[in-house]
């Protein structure tokens, strides 16, 4: 449900959210098109419908904060400040790709803005993010670590091990569960016993809550509150955001295993439209709001064009960044 308009809300802040959500949406739509054009090389997972989480969480992170994400990580990466062109180049495996064409969508990262990687292994980043927080504590630094993962990830062991660890060492880490109802083609609740991420976190002594993840205000508020707590040394926190994966598991998945009506209903809770509605009630003109989408689409169109026209990376790249031992071909065949 749309929140009642609240005149205390910082409009500029939410306008920025609105812009970011549109940029993410446009990036994803463009990536989907690139996928249809058969220019994306591996599987890509779109976050359409989940933009409020990416924007709401990441806007409350500082550049120095670490972010670890999932296979569905484009939105998080963009919201953390990465350059969409370098990202699109990576998806297309072209020169200038943010991982030099070695990673693709599932390993997208931008360490220069603290984004330490998507991950192709479900739940693997939970421990990695926890460890990054451990490093922060050891170094007596003031940044925090944030890990975003899906509702399917809570059934893997690392969820328990990482959360327990973060509690034992009282680490500055924010766990964010995107509870989008699905793990691949299976409904997550069919494979999950109990109440889900927040209940499990609490059982491990970790402050946790469940929030509407399609409401940018709620996302922003709870994240800000939890992050402040974490920065104050109050240890790890978890937020489980309820949302819905509006598209298929991958960009090629028609997701015909769910009723059209369900998806239609879910679209009514589109987080971007809800944010537009909110802002228009706060007096922002629809024209300005529509402009955001237009600008975002233009930006991503340019990005796509650049990426399409970019050359392949030099194939020597295959042999660099392996380890500090010189050319891995030497003596290796």
């Amino acid at each position: 449900m749309i929140q009642p308009p609240n005149q205390n809300i910082d409009k500029d802040w939410f306008l920025e959210h609105h812009i970011m959500m549109h940029r993410i949406r446009a990036f994803e739509e463009t990536a989907a098109r690139a996928n249809q054009d058969k220019l994306v090389l591996g599987a890509i997972h779109l976050s359409i419908g989940q933009e409020a989480i990416a924007s709401g969480v990441c806007k409350n992170l500082m550049k120095e904060d670490f972010l670890l994400s999932t296979h569905r990580g484009h939105g998080h990466t963009l919201a953390k400040g990465a350059d969409p062109e370098a990202m699109m180049l990576e998806l297309l495996g072209r020169r200038g790709g943010i991982c030099k064409g070695k990673g693709g969508s599932m390993h997208i990262a931008d360490a220069s803005v603290g984004m330490l990687g998507a991950n192709g292994v479900v739940a693997a980043n939970i421990n990695i993010a926890t460890g990054a927080a451990h490093a922060i504590k050891l170094k007596r630094e003031t940044n925090i670590s944030c890990c975003i993962f899906g509702d399917g990830a809570i059934n893997r062991g690392p969820f328990l091990e990482g959360l327990n660890w973060s509690g034992v060492f009282n680490l500055p880490v924010l766990f964010v569960c995107e509870n989008n109802g699905f793990a691949s083609t299976t409904r997550t609740d069919a494979m999950t016993s109990g109440e889900g991420a927040a209940a499990r976190a609490r059982s491990m002594g970790i402050t946790a809550t469940e929030v509407d993840g399609n409401d940018i205000i709620s996302v922003d508020e709870i994240t800000r509150e939890y992050i402040a707590n974490i920065r104050n040394g109050n240890g790890p926190h978890l937020i489980s955001f309820n949302t819905y994966r509006l598209h298929g598991h991958t960009a090629s998945d028609p997701a015909s295993y769910r009723p059209a009506a369900e998806v239609e209903t879910a679209w009514k809770e589109d987080p971007i439209e809800r944010c537009s509605e909110l802002l228009s009630r706060l007096g922002i003109s629809r024209k300005i709001l529509n402009e955001h989408r237009k600008i975002a689409l233009e930006e991503m169109e340019r990005v796509y064009k650049t990426a399409k026209e970019a050359p392949w990376p030099s194939d020597d790249n295959a042999f660099s960044d392996v380890q500090d031992l010189g050319d891995p071909r030497e003596g290796a065949f």
Partner: protein, 329 residues
């Protein structure tokens, strides 16, 4: 003979075994929808959700529960989705499944098949492309199967399901759609028997899984150059058909092994070392390995291409091998 794809052949094998033995069941993520590669499509309808069972994203439990279910008298067929994800369940496979029978002095057996789709496929990069068959050959207690054709996939999967020991069953993702003739009757293929893909006199080429097809192409190219290669598809790496390889090398005097996985510590080394030890005086030229460099698998095609072992590389290496005359003979 019936024409069908590698995936269909596996599905047929599983369906046949499930009909034959009510204790056979399959478990893995998204099996109800037919599996990630459609290799289970339609089986849910026939066998129901208990025997074609979805699983949580819990690789340790998928593997570990299957160990228990095998000990307790059923025959789980475990779907790991990608061989890479099986790395989330290594204790369960190596410390438990492979060793339980031994550690418990033969009191239990662990009849389970661990299906791990492996290999490079559509730019799926470093965490979705690995081939780690050599790891499993190193572990006592495991059988390791690496079928390359629809017929072999049917026949070996059936044998694997009937095996009383854990079988690591590595299907290659890139050949799910590969079509071939499959016998009408339920021919079982025993472990440890290779398949002579092509006869030849000048050099023995040994391969397995998808790489076998690249090797077959190389053998054709070599033929055009007047080099007659004998091509052996091992089909299983443990046990492996030493006799077939020995017999062939005795004839050709030359050996080339090619696999998609990393060369260093790969199973090619085991074959090379064994042949070098057993047939030393028969060899006319050094044994050659054509396998991947020791780098993670990349995403962009030109980079990926550098890591794949091509038919051309095999042709080049085989030609070089045949040209060498050691003068020993």
């Amino acid at each position: 003979m019936v024409k069908m794809s590698y995936a269909e052949a596996a599905k047929l094998a599983l369906a046949e075994e499930m009909r034959r033995d009510p204790l056979v069941w399959a478990i893995g993520e998204d099996l109800g929808r037919g599996g990630v590669f459609g290799q289970y499509l339609g089986l849910l309808d026939e066998f129901g959700p208990e025997r074609i069972s979805d699983a949580p994203i819990s690789e340790s439990a998928i593997m570990g529960a299957s160990v228990g279910a095998a000990m307790a008298g059923t025959r789980p067929v475990v779907e790991m989705r990608f061989a890479d994800f099986a790395l989330c369940a290594v204790d369960e496979l190596i410390n438990q499944a492979a060793k339980a029978r031994y550690m418990l002095g033969g009191q239990v057996k662990v009849p389970m098949v661990i299906r791990e789709p492996m290999g490079m496929w559509r730019s799926s990069a470093a965490q979705h492309s690995q081939s780690l068959e050599s790891w499993y050959t190193h572990i006592p207690g495991l059988v390791v199967a690496v079928p390359s054709t629809p017929a072999d996939n049917r026949g070996l999967l059936k044998t694997a399901i009937r095996s009383d020991d854990p079988v690591v069953y590595l299907e290659h993702k890139n050949i799910w759609g590969y079509e071939g003739d499959v016998p009408e009757d339920e021919t079982l293929i025993p472990f440890g028997k290779g398949r002579l893909e092509k006869e030849g006199d000048d050099i023995t080429i040994v391969s397995w899984s998808a790489q076998m097809h690249i090797a077959a192409n190389a053998a054709t190219l070599l033929q055009a150059e007047g080099i007659s290669a004998e091509l052996i598809d091992l089909r299983t790496l443990w046990p492996w058909d030493r006799q077939m390889v020995f017999d062939s090398v005795e004839k050709t005097g030359r050996l080339l092994i090619t696999h998609e996985s990393v060369s260093v510590g790969g199973f090619g080394a085991e074959i090379a070392a064994t042949v070098a030890e057993q047939l030393f005086s028969v060899l006319k030229s050094p044994i050659t390995r054509c396998a991947a460099p020791r780098v993670p698998i990349s995403y962009a095609p030109p980079l990926e291409a550098k890591i794949r072992v091509s038919s051309e590389q095999i042709v080049e290496a085989a030609t070089k091998s045949v040209a060498v005359s050691t003068g020993f003979k």
